[in-house]
Each structure stands twice: as structure tokens, then as C-alpha cells.
Assembly symmetry: C2
Homo-oligomer: 328 residues x 2
């Protein structure tokens, strides 16, 4: 799938178009991979603003970039053999060839999509952001925005494992029901409800100890006014600002409320935690095995559905990790 | 000095008026103190907004509140004797009687004003905010706003002791000269200059590792765009917002810039550090003794000058700690 045009305002499926070409031969030291599945994240929308200037930045006429898992079909590197399952920048294509250093071998058993969700970047982001930056204690109140998203739905479940009371904020009643009924959140609130602020207040009678912010904007603004003394705000993403070209002003009350309530607000990026990925994945796998952590995916079939999947993701129509199945 | 009226907009000296009355007899367990000096801080302006509802909140007809040092003239508590020098809420008055628990004995030698500045709340705020929340490392760049203020001028000097490169932001060329020529700052910038942003950029070629924020508002907004990866913003005060009744929106780029640069932004209040005050004062005293730390005061003579001192402080006319000498 190529980028047909950069979006001018809201993304549409027409911003992408299918194209065919010969499968690349792997060059010296390269590994050729058959894509099995790709994942799409809201953060990728920011890459389509047209302002990035690095080599390979998304622009019209290029293959759309993205992370996937695939099976090695030809290898010019001793570290990879045919049949290995790897994760890397497959981009939105059936076959991808890249230097061996850009592929990471993953467990070939089970559903490869797990390596794009709970055991991939999204899961690790939820795990380290919550446990390391937020550090919730038993009995504390954790609030997470975009709670039904790829990161949010794991944040809430990990917070429950840690003994916290968990409030999720999502964009539809359906999502809220999923969070409470299927994923064990204590409360979930629809941010589109007219009385959202009243519901938010009622849902946090002991105020907020950890706010995991995936959205920025108004929800961050509301959370700031509900923080407990020595509360922590984990700044993970700014989904409210991705699908627009001009970010709005920051929330009122910064820095005054941070001072009065001695609140810490901290941004993080997951690759700073690379040396702890193995341990993080192992702990999450143990929670999956014990049934304490239930990863969710929204699946789309075929590379040709990727543009539509991206639009639905940004429009709030997906739950959990958004996965496009490319091949068996 | 009484509060004659709460300020409607900018504070003026007319908001205060002198009044006389009998000196209170100390009650049971109380200690009567002759005020020697009081200090005025920008943060007290916030207390005059008229919205506070606690008992004793500042309002027209009350004595203006404030911290001072004084000499005990009569004591009904075994812990205090005539001649002791104490710090506490003397308020803006010649004599103050209060329960013993509200007075803190200080070293009776030397200038009592030191106990309102570098060895008082201002100095401790600078010390713990910078060293504990900001934690500058040798060679890092520290920026401090309201750098010529009671807290700021100490922050910059402590940062130099810690081996950092120090950039101060102040509100006049005179103040900037004092910071560089007398207090050892590496660079000082006048925030009122038309090319402030260009100067700010030029003064931080290696970007900012620790920004000690006394102001909020536009300067915080500018600093956010200059933060280094893993930079720390110490949120200490919001002087830009004290002398107005409606706080403005927060700085643009929150939370996006915090995420991209993995920046931590943290508010603190000094009383959380109470169990470390003795150690903090001892270390600052050692730097004063070695000449590495030069505390500055702006002095006013007589209780009747307190209103004017407050106005000059808020208007940016003072350097260091603002002190009103009440008696010898």
C-alpha cells in the first residue's frame, strides 16, 4: 500500500492506494520476510503531517511505513533462517527486505499478532509507563484515557494486577461496557457524554493518584484538577492532537496545580527501556497465562483493508490493538 | 499594618493602612515577640485574591499576614526565654503573641534577616527544589526564571556550586548585571527585551537540562521548547499569575513536548522537606562561609513601608529577599 497523498485535515482511506511490484531480492546481509500481520497505531497519524524531513519520511508515492511480523523466506545473514518469525518494519507490504539488524526474532509459536500487541511496543509501553513512571500502589486510584486503545486496555489491566482501583475513559458506551465487563475495569466513562465532568468526579471520590494520559487536551485538563497530593501523570501520547495540524494551548492550571498538589508529570518513550524488555514481556506473559491480562485486538483482513483500518482506529471504532492480517 | 481593602487588579500601597492598638498580653502557653524584621514574598499576592475561606484568611480590616523574626519579650512557655530570637508569623505588626508551637528558635547571632532569606523558607525552597527535584549534574545547563528574586538568586548560585552552567532570566538590565557581575551567573537575559526568544536560544546552545520555574506563563512556554532529552522542570511558583484574577491557559506543547523529549515536570512545596531542613541549612551556611553563596536582600525601613515594599516586589523593583526592618 502506497501513500497516495498526505491527508489535508482528517485522514481518509483514499490517502492510500494498492500497488504491485516485484518482490525484492535480499541484498548482502539482508533478510527477506513474508509479512503475516501489521499493526497500526494512532501515533502514526502524526508522521503524516508532512513536516518530517528525515530520509524515508512518509510522503506521497512511498510505501506506507509500519511495524509487522513476518516469516523469513530468504536470508543472507547467519542469524536468521527460513521459517523464523520476526518483528520489524515490514511497512504496508506483502514482502519486505531489510538488513538483519532491523529484524528481531520472536517466538514462532502462538498467534504472531501477540508480538504486535501485548508483547510488542504497545504492551511494553503500557507496562513500563504504568509500573515505572506511574508506579501505582495497592488501593490507589489509576485513571487511563483512550482506555480501550492498544495501550490503554493493557494499562488498566496491569493496574488491576497491581491492586489499584481503575477508571477508564473511552469514546463510546460499547467500549465502556467492554472495559468493565470483559477487562475488569472498576468504572468506565464515555468522554462524549454531556455530563462527563460530573461522572469523572463521581468516579474518583478519592481523587487520582496516577493518571495515564494517552490523549492530552481536555481530558488531561480535567484530570489535573482531580489529582491527589503527590500524584503522577504519565504522559504517553497525545491522540487528541494527532488528526489535526495545529495543536491547541496546554491545559489551564499548569504549572499552578502541579505546585499546589506536588504533582509530577513525566513523558517517556519506550525505547529508553530496551534493556528491560525481556523481563517486561516475561511478566506480562505470566499474567496472560494466569488469565489476569486479556489482550484484545481489532482485526482487519488483507493489506487492502489497512487504510480503512487506520481510519476506523482514528475515528474510535477499534478496541485493543489494531491488526491487519496479511497472510497465514 | 492592616489590610485596608483587597486589591482589585494590581496591588497598591493604599491597600494597607497603619493602625495602633495595645500590645497583647501573652496568654497561657503563649510567647510575645517584638518583631525585628519581616519578609514579603510574591506568593502572598495570591492570598489576597479574596477567594480563601479559611479562618484568618486575609481580608479588609485584618492585620496583614506574614513571616518575620523577632525577639521574645515575654514568655509563658518553658521552651522560650526573654531575648531568644524566633521566626514565625509575626504578621505585619510590631508585637505578636502566639502559642509557643508557632515559634521556631533561630541562632541569635548575626543578622536576623538571614533567617528570613537564605536560611529561611526562600533559601530552603531554592536548595531542595534545585538539588532534589532538579538534581543538576556537573556541566549541565540550568535555567532559572525570576532569577533575581528571593528564591531564584539562590537557585543560580547553588547550581554553580553543583558545577552547572547557569542562565538567569530577570526583568531588567540592572538585575541581569547583578546576576552576572555579583552572583556568578554565566548569562542573564532580560525577559522584557524584544528579542528575548533569540537571546534565550543563543544562551542555551546545549539546550536546558534543568529549568527552575518561578513564573509559569510565557517563559515556561519558551523553556519547554528548549528542554533536553530527560530534562527536568522544577515547578516552584507562578509569579506571572499572582497579580491577576484569572490564570491564563497552560503552555502550548503540553503534553506533546514532554513525551517527545521525555521531560519530567514536577511541583513541590517546601514543607514536605521539613525533616531535612537542618541539613539543608547547614550546607548552605557552609557555602556562605566559603563565599560560594552570596545572599542578597532588598531592605525597606519601618513597618509603614511594607505596603510599598510589596508593590515594588511585585513590580520587579527588588533583588533577592525583600526585607522590612521593623526594629533593631
Amino acid at each position: 500500500m502506497m501513500i497516495a497523498s498526505l491527508p489535508d485535515g482528517q485522514l481518509s482511506a483514499d490517502n492510500f492506494q494498492l500497488a504491485s511490484g516485484p518482490v525484492a531480492e535480499p541484498g548482502d546481509g539482508e533478510v527477506l520476510v513474508r509479512t503475516l500481520a501489521i499493526t497500526i497505531g494512532a501515533g502514526q497519524r502524526a508522521g503524516l503531517q508532512g513536516s518530517a524531513s528525515y530520509a524515508g519520511a512518509p510522503t506521497a508515492g512511498r510505501v506506507m511505513n509500519g511495524t509487522g511480523v513476518g516469516r523469513v523466506v530468504a536470508s543472507n545473514d547467519a542469524g536468521f533462517a527460513e521459517g523464523d518469525v520476526v518483528r520489524g518494519m515490514t511497512n504496508w507490504q506483502d514482502y519486505a527486505s531489510a538488513p538483519a539488524s532491523q529484524w528481531e526474532k520472536v517466538d514462532a509459536g502462538g498467534d504472531p499478532a501477540l508480538h504486535l500487541g501485548v508483547l510488542g511496543t504497545n504492551g511494553l509501553t503500557a507496562y513500563f509507563g504504568l509500573t515505572d513512571v506511574g508506579n501505582p500502589q495497592p488501593g490507589e486510584t489509576v485513571v487511563v484515557s483512550a482506555a480501550a486503545g492498544s495501550v490503554g486496555h493493557i494499562v488498566g489491566q496491569v493496574a488491576k494486577v497491581k491492586g489499584a482501583r481503575v477508571v477508564g475513559i473511552a469514546g463510546s458506551d460499547d467500549k465502556c461496557r467492554t472495559l468493565v465487563d470483559d477487562l475488569g475495569f472498576d468504572v468506565a466513562i464515555n468522554r462524549k457524554d454531556d455530563d462527563f465532568r460530573d461522572q469523572f468526579k463521581a468516579a474518583t471520590p478519592d481523587r487520582i493518584d496516577v493518571y495515564f494520559d494517552n490523549t492530552g487536551g481536555d481530558i488531561l485538563g480535567s484530570a489535573l484538577f482531580r489529582m491527589n497530593t503527590h500524584g503522577r501523570i504519565v504522559c504517553c501520547g497525545v491522540v487528541s492532537q494527532y488528526d489535526t495540524s495545529t495543536p491547541g494551548p496546554g491545559p489551564r492550571g499548569i504549572p499552578g496545580l502541579l505546585v499546589n498538589n506536588r504533582v509530577r508529570m513525566e513523558g517517556f518513550l519506550i525505547f529508553d527501556y530496551a534493556d528491560r524488555f525481556v523481563a517486561g514481556r516475561a511478566e506480562m506473559q505470566s499474567w496472560i497465562d494466569s488469565g489476569q491480562l486479556v489482550p484484545r485486538v481489532s482485526e482487519f483482513a488483507g493489506l487492502e483493508s489497512a487504510g480503512q483500518a487506520f481510519v476506523e482506529l482514528l475515528g474510535g471504532g477499534t478496541v485493543g490493538t489494531t491488526i491487519v492480517r496479511v497472510a497465514e
